[in-house]
């Protein structure tokens, strides 16, 4: 092997290393996915709650971790301990609303307002179906 060859191999290794480091850096710093960048499954809060009430496993297969767009009437809202807003949309069951944890803190909604909220479905719980990282459409 002559010197030229060794030099080329070295350059090659450096380039591969740089690409690898670039890819790793990109993965490490990749942003959170945003609901508004994806097409959501449109559904009413009443229908969503009914599907989860009837068969949670089947509903999870359809909605869990997917972007959904729920339309419903604001029942109440609750501030969390870090100042974030949780908007609860009404369903037919007064004890189980569709809970939407909003991404932005300075959002205002009023009770009785009809809204469409887009977010990631995180499943069903004791106080209703949850959506996280939500935005108002």
């Amino acid at each position: 092997m002559n010197k030229k060859m060794i030099f080329r191999i070295l350059i090659g290794l450096v380039v591969i290393g740089a690409i690898g480091a670039g890819v790793a850096y990109k993965m490490w710093t990749k942003p959170h996915p945003k609901a508004e960048d994806q097409k959501g499954i449109a559904i009413t809060t009443v229908a969503l709650a009914k599907e989860y009430g009837a068969d949670e496993k089947a509903a999870d297969a359809k909605y869990l971790n997917k972007v959904i767009e729920v339309t419903g009437i604001v029942g109440e809202s609750e501030k969390n301990q870090d100042g974030g807003l949780m908007v609860v949309l009404q369903t037919e069951d007064p004890t189980a609303g569709v809970q939407c944890a909003m991404r932005e803190k300075n959002i205002t909604v009023s009770k009785g307002q009809n809204v469409t909220i887009k977010g990631f479905c995180s499943g069903n719980g004791i106080t209703g179906v949850s959506l996280t990282d939500c935005v108002i459409k």
């Binding site: 993965m27 971790n65 974030g84 949780m86 004791i126 996280t132």
Partner: protein
């Protein structure tokens, strides 16, 4: 006279001094598995925890969606969901138990009460009985429940691959903070 007694009876039934259930949809649970060797803090926060305390019996339930934990780094959040907690398979974690010394707590009187909560904790599909010390702070009609516990990830079959070794703690510290209100 009869009317007064009747009215008093109705009043007594209709307005119990304390609603039976205290709840929150926005209780906060954070998860920390940082070690001195971690390249940066490994911490996730869930501000969407549902929590119900039965004000008569001291029955206490917490439930959270694993996917609602937020990490600063998306990659960490993704690994937490996909590799460690397998949140597609086990979307929820839950605690169902009781305040064992509920008799010491007076929800109608402002103060800080030391409590012990015992019950079943289900994480990653594995249920274990735990007993956790905590406090309940009552102030003007709201009760805030706080606790801190350490859980061994291996107990809940959460595998930390040997590649990351000492960069992820074997025992995670869980901090709970729930501001409960009458509903």
């Amino acid at each position: 006279m009869k009317k007064i007694i009747l009215a008093a009876a109705i009043l007594a039934i209709a307005s119990p001094s304390f609603a039976q259930k205290l709840m929150s949809r926005t209780a906060k649970i954070s998860f920390n598995a940082t070690t001195p060797k971690s390249p940066e803090k490994i911490e996730g926060v869930n501000n969407e925890v549902a929590c119900i305390l039965d004000a008569k019996t001291g029955d206490f339930v917490f439930q959270l969606q694993v996917k609602s934990f937020k990490f600063e780094r998306e990659l960490m959040q993704q690994h937490f969901n996909e590799n460690y907690m397998e949140s597609d398979k086990f979307p929820k974690s839950m605690f169902k138990g009781k305040i064992t010394n509920f008799g010491d707590v007076n929800l109608a009187k402002d103060g800080t009460y030391k409590v012990t909560v015992s019950g079943d904790l289900t994480v990653h599909g594995v249920t274990k009985t735990v007993s956790v010390p905590g406090t309940i702070t009552v102030k003007g009609g709201t009760a805030t429940a706080s606790a801190k516990l350490q859980i061994k990830l291996a107990d809940y079959k959460v595998d930390v691959p040997s590649v990351v070794g000492d960069k992820v703690a074997k025992d995670a510290i869980i901090t709970i903070d729930a501001a409960l209100a009458q509903k």
